[in-house]
């Protein structure tokens, strides 16, 4: 029998509990039969064991067919042009030692600055570029995972015509013929569609094409574009601007649905700057304050001091009201449209902002309507933030366009047979154009269609010609970073296949088909910079990863509210549908990336799936529960989607993520989830009212890596207000369980560490749970992907996970993150129980795993209270796919079936540093060993070093009063400890009871 959440009783239960109210999922607080039922469905009998050879788990094994070309990898080496390593010159190449090269990954046209790690000419991993303003040494999850795409066996590998192997020259000849036939009409029948391009050299090539064909049109389209901010800027300023935020200057931040620490250009830098103002230490307890108004809890809101769930329609009213409160010349909306906003919020936020005028930021998410962007511009202007914390400059694309409008025009032209030649440059509009453009239907009417792309995807399948596109790690490329600085992409490896870059493709249209990508980029800059000393400048720029002083100058603009006032306030009726970028597969381009598919999405911890997420109250109203299958109907189109009840989501909304429902993504990403694009409309790409949910089934199995029960007061995450910490710095120590004995006492003598003693501290006050560390760990440590069916039975292999918990009321809980990895206990329960001594303590306090000695009793994992050990239940490693072998880190063993594995604190990096230090006859310096997770972390929440050295950063952090270990009452004495999480609530909004809850111990 089916029962739903009894939401009122859940609320009541939460109200009735004492102390901190931690809980993990609705089912858990409901404690009802359907939780049992749900769990039963989640771990189905019979779903896993029959080892269907075509399941995705086996994707790593099913490679053989593609590998006629696999041998080509063996022929690749360093690219012929001179690429400039980041630290040492290539002359210093020592076999076995990796080299680092500055490079950059374009995403949505914007460059993410990276260092590529190359082992004997094989890129294996990326790190952030410490010198680059967009990175400061950190990365995000997507760029960490991008390395795997290079080696993806499903990449487009051959130049093909109608699926048959052909050559570049044959293509160029055909293309020339087609273009020649267009020349007479000035290219009236020629259309080019590409993703967003910020590369000055590529833009100039396009301009050359458009000079030859003045009637042709070049359309840029990314489904996750910046149309709304562009239109918002037009509304506010009459011109488009690129907005750069200075979070390091901001004391109060109001985010209107902006997940700025995870999504969008500058996310990594913003995350760093924002959290730099939250690094609480005993002697510096200053913290900025973040208000988040959002539709669905996000990584950013895990750091919020106040958060309020608002639907997109309510957001506009909120923005108007806040603007009016701040003295912007707009009309305050009627009170009923602000029903979801608690009474004193607007006033309190406005006063807080005004008190920090010039030191505050109002930031808006890309998915919000243009008018909200315009209002934010007006508010920042009214607060005097412009020029302080908010900097305007020229848009990165040069002349920006409204991409959705252009796409609609293109589709229209195609349907009306006005297009004769369509060239697709790494765009996939057949999949990711909104449904109402009917792109797939339109494209078939074009006589000549050619595509250059990383994959023969949905669009490629409808193109006669397919040219493989070089991965960014194989390309010379340039692109602007979030602040406009030109970043250079150096190839770390010669193209694995007969691929071309976008530069080469466009150059072929103007008769430069034989130009190398290197020449095309370098020649452009050599002309552009016309520096007498260009060679040196070029070398320096390649070394640094960017060309200095290429950021566009600050632009001064003036705000007008006339257009804002002209916009009719949004009206909403019925259920509001929201489309969001997916935190793992983004817009679908990473769908074939196993690391990302298996990466648990922030907070929900869902993998391999997108869902229709609804709030608990909406679930109650619609009588739906987790795993129900619904027909999601909107504007006459519908998809089948599984339901996920997301605590903290705005009522009356359904949120779906883009990027799933691919049909030709490859062996990993095809046919999973549903395509939100098939519901999307080009006039309302992000949100609209009028969605309907009808239950059509139930018991769908969602592979969430966590769901279970409540915290029972165990306090693995310890939180409190910053005021409490100021009054009583020791309060954190009184939380949690305390055993009868001093956990540090033991009958046995302790270990002695005469040299190093490695330890880690994770600052929960800055962790936003963005997952960069998890992917970095996976890339660094050759961790296999296991597939949805194995995740469903609890066998995911990531050594590091981000636990998330909820605290507080059901409708608006505070989500909390906790990176959990091997704690390297001093008294490790795992070491004691291994019958063969395969997990042992080393002289530097590492709990090391000897894979070769492990016989797989799994006793160690059973006895690990943190459950951070991972076991190769089956042969998860792919031994057959040649291309994937290139990615593996040669410094880390690949583990066979039947062997336990776990976080090693990146022991290979410690060894490398030790060898270097020994050669130089010195001790390893503090900060010399950077673990993979630490290096990737955008918020620098992870600290690693020698705790034997009292001057090391990690030792100092361990001396902080808010430093605590998880489950220390067991006497494990973990080497990994945590800094408690604080909030800095506005005293005007603070819950008067919140304070007493802390430190019940």
């Amino acid at each position: 029998m089916r029962k739903n959440f009894d939401i009122p009783s859940i609320r009541k239960r939460l109200e009735g509990t004492y102390g901190k109210k931690y809980w993990r999922s609705l089912e858990e607080i409901a404690e009802t039969d359907e939780f049992q039922d749900f769990v039963k469905h989640e771990f189905p009998q019979g779903a896993d064991q029959w080892l269907n050879p075509v399941t995705r788990r086996n994707f790593l094994k099913l490679m053989a067919a593609s590998f006629a070309f696999g041998g080509l990898t063996a022929c690749s080496a360093n690219p012929p042009q001179k690429i400039v390593p980041y630290v040492r010159a290539p002359e210093e190449l020592v076999p076995g030692k990796p080299l680092f090269f500055a490079t950059a990954m374009p995403l949505g046209g914007v460059a993410m600055a990276l260092l590529g790690e190359s082992h004997e000419g094989r890129p294996t991993k990326v790190e952030g570029n410490p010198d680059h303003p967009a990175s400061l040494g950190s990365t995000d999850a997507l760029s960490q995972a991008s390395v795997l795409n290079l080696y993806d066996p499903d990449r487009s590998q051959i130049i093909s015509q109608g699926g048959m192997l052909t050559t570049w020259s044959a293509f160029v000849e055909t293309l020339r013929g087609q273009l020649d036939s267009q020349r007479a009409s000035g290219g009236a029948g020629l259309r080019i569609i590409s993703e967003t391009v910020t590369s000055p050299s590529l833009i100039s090539l396009f301009q050359n094409v458009l000079q030859d064909f003045p009637q042709a049109r070049w359309v840029q389209y990314d489904p996750i574009n910046r149309d709304n901010s562009k239109e918002g800027a037009m509304m506010a300023f009459g011109e488009d601007v690129n907005t750069v935020y200075q979070f390091d200057q901001a004391e109060v931040i109001v985010s209107l649905d902006a997940n700025f620490t995870q999504f969008g250009p500058g996310n990594v830098r913003y995350a760093r700057d924002f959290t730099d103002k939250r690094r609480v230490r005993e002697d510096s307890t200053a913290m900025n304050r973040l208000y988040v108004m959002e539709t669905q809890p996000s990584a950013t809101s895990t750091l919020a001091d106040h958060r309020l769930p608002l639907s997109s329609a309510q957001m506009e009213a909120f923005a108007r009201a806040l603007a009016a409160e701040l003295g912007v010349d707009v009309e305050a909306p009627p009170a009923e449209s602000l029903a979801a906003v608690p009474e004193n919020w607007l006033g309190a936020i406005a006063r807080d902002l005004q008190a920090n005028a010039g030191k505050s930021i109002v930031i808006v998410g890309e998915n919000q309507a243009p008018v909200v962007h315009a209002l934010a511009h007006a508010m920042n202007d009214a607060l005097g933030n412009v020029g302080q914390t908010v900097i305007y400059s020229e848009p990165l694309e040069g002349t920006s366009t409204n991409q959705m409008q252009e796409l609609r025009l293109l589709a229209d032209d195609m349907i009306n047979d006005r297009v004769e030649v369509l060239l697709v440059i790494d765009a996939n509009p057949v999949y990711n154009a909104p449904a109402d453009t009917r792109f797939a239907e339109a494209i078939r009417r074009v006589p000549f269609r050619a595509k250059i792309g990383l994959y023969v995807d949905e669009t490629g399948a409808l193109c006669e010609w397919n040219i493989p596109l070089s991965h960014y790690l194989e390309s010379w490329f340039d692109a602007r970073a979030y602040d406009g600085v030109v970043s250079l992409t150096q190839p770390l490896v010669d193209p694995l296949y007969s691929s071309k870059t976008a530069h080469q493709f466009v150059a072929a249209m103007i008769g430069q088909s034989e130009s190398s990508d290197y020449d095309l980029v370098r020649d452009y800059w050599s002309n552009e910079l016309s520096d007498s000393n260009f060679d040196t400048l070029w070398q320096t720029s390649l070394h640094d990863g960017f060309i200095a002083d290429t950021a566009p100058p600050t632009k001064s603009v003036s705000v007008s509210t006339a257009e804002i006032n002209a916009v009719e306030p949004a009206e909403s009726s019925g259920l509001e549908i929201n489309f969001r970028p997916d935190p793992t597969v983004w817009d679908g381009r990473f769908a074939n990336n196993g690391w990302l598919q298996e990466l648990p999405k922030p907070i929900s911890k869902l993998t391999w799936e997108n869902v229709a997420a609804i709030s608990p109250a909406t679930a109650e109203e619609l009588n739906l529960t987790n795993g129900d299958l619904v027909e999601l109907r909107y504007r006459g189109r519908s998809v089948q989607a599984p339901i996920w009840v997301f605590p903290g989501q705005a009522d009356g909304t359904v949120v779906t993520t883009l990027g799933y429902g691919r049909t030709l993504a490859g062996r990993v990403g095809s046919d999973i989830g549903f395509s939100a694009y098939s519901l999307q409309n080009s006039d309302a790409p992000w949100s609209d009212s009028g969605a309907e949910l009808t239950q059509v089934g139930r018991g769908y199995k969602l592979a969430s890596t966590q769901t279970h029960y409540n915290m029972e007061g165990r306090d693995p995450v310890r939180t409190g207000t910053i005021d409490h910490f100021r009054e009583d710095p020791e309060f954190v120590q009184h939380m949690g369980e305390h055993g009868p004995f001093d956990p540090n006492s033991s009958l046995m003598p302790g270990w002695e560490y005469n040299s190093y003693a490695w330890g880690m501290v994770v600052d929960l006050n800055t962790c936003n749970g963005c997952n960069a560390c998890v992917v970095a760990c996976q890339a660094e440590n050759n961790i296999p992907v296991v597939g949805k069916d194995q995740v469903l039975v609890g066998r995911e292999m990531q050594w590091m996970r981000i636990d998330s918990y909820f605290e507080g009321e059901l409708d608006n809980p505070q989500p909390l993150n906790q990176p959990m990895l091997c704690q390297h206990c001093e008294q490790a329960p795992c070491e004691l129980v291994c019958p063969v001594g395969a997990t042992v303590h080393d002289a530097e306090g590492l709990n090391v795993m000897v894979y070769n000695r492990c016989v797989g009793t799994r006793y160690c994992s059973n006895n690990c209270p943190y459950k951070v050990r991972r076991f190769n239940f089956l042969d998860f490693v792919d031994y057959t796919t040649e291309s994937l072998k290139g990615q593996r880190n040669p410094d880390v063993s690949v583990r066979v079936r039947g062997v336990m594995e776990k976080c090693t604190y990146c022991v290979q990096r410690i060894s490398e540093a030790r060898i270097r230090a020994k050669i130089e006859d010195r001790r390893i310096a503090d900060g010399e060993v950077i673990s993979a997770c630490q290096g990737a972390c955008p918020t620098k929440a992870i600290y690693f070093g020698d705790i034997n050295d009292p001057d090391s950063e990690v030792a100092k952090l361990k001396a902080q009063p808010q430093n605590y270990g998880v489950l220390t009452e067991l006497g494990t004495r973990p080497r990994t400890t945590y800094l408690a999480k604080f909030t800095n609530p506005n005293p005007e909004l603070e819950d008067p009871n919140a304070h007493e809850d802390n430190g019940h111990g």
Binding site: R24, V833, V836, V855, Y859, N862, K867, G898, V899, L967
Partner: protein, 457 residues
Amino acid sequence: MQLGQTEKPIGGDLPVVEPGHTYRSVSEKISNIVLDIRTPLGWFVAFGSGSILLMMYLISIAYLFAYGVGVWGINIPVGWGFAIVTFVWWIGIGHAGTLISAILFLFRQDWRTSINRFAEAMTLFAVVCAGLYPILHLGRPWLFFWLLPYPNTFGLWPQFRSALAWDVFAVSTYGTISAVFWYTGLIPDLAGMRDRAKVPLLKMVYGMLALGWRGSSRHWHHHQALYLLLAAIATPLVVSVHTVVSFDFAIAQVPGWSTTVFPPYFVAGAIFSGFAMVVTLLVPIRKLYHIEDMITLRHFDVMGKILLTTGLVVFYGYVTEAFTGWYSGSIYELFLFMNRFTGHYAPFVYLLVFCNLVAPQLLWFRSVRTNMTLMFILSLIINTGMWLERFMIVIISLTADYLPSSWALFIATPWDWSLLIGSIGLFIVLLFLFVRTLPMISVFEMQELIHNTEHGH
């Protein structure tokens, strides 16, 4: 009166041996089961179905070796599943044999005589079934010998702080001593078989196994001394092996494992399940071979009392465990207790309470103890209950330990079940081979029993 004929029933109104048996009749009846009479149809049915299950067992093992332990339902956090549950279950079953042969021998319990051979064989086979599991459950079973302390070029030894390393010694010692004890007891009877066998090949095989036994006084003298000695050696093993097995759990720090009451509680549970298994097997076999006159209601009456007693000890163990969990004040222990009775697996726990605590209370009644059908059903219930008890201890504890974020359930797969049921097949096949080829009741001890009764010793 013929020599050695029993006049009055041994053991009051419920005799250990029905009246009318002589030295010769005992000897003939027992050895004829093997040598002369036509093999009953029931044997073929039992052996045949055992073989089918054994085949399933072998297929399961082949599949397991081909793909890895991931074919089972185990995961992180539940690293141990059916393999360990069933290992402990079989080891427990293996307790009755040695207890009957050794301890009851030392205590001179006359009723043990007609069932000790059979119970010892059962012990051996249960140990075989049990002993395979720890190897099968390894991630890399081909490296099982790394758990043994053998000299090697790596200079590596097992890690002796681990209870699994102790297990290796406990189980292998127990297996060895049980086998030697059993074989020693068999020698005089093997000689008897040699003398009675008519087929030359059989004569030779039994002859070789009899090690030249001629039945001289000297032989008997040495034999009796050795038998007594082995009984004395085996006695502490009855206690030690399950104590060490319980250490697998007791030394760990998983809530629900880390309990000092485990050693006695495990031993009591082992005897409980061992006797239940003896009952399960003897009820049909005595009927099949018409040996109700040697394995009599007296035996079942006594075994029923033992079942009742050990069942109550087990119950006491549950209570103590729950009490200490509560008394510790540890939120983990308290949660564990609640989780058992209200969590996902609560139905199993209630079933366990029924099987191990409620149902055995029927054994207070003599009419139940001497009712073969009821005893058979009860013994099956108890064996199920004891399996569930290990399920509760091993699996339920692991599903929810310390960090709620990593809690997950264990759902058995068909391969879990096939290996469990298949191991029963192995047991049945071994047992029926034994019944078919060796005297399942100790002839010389039966004769001794009759002799003693007659001479009023």
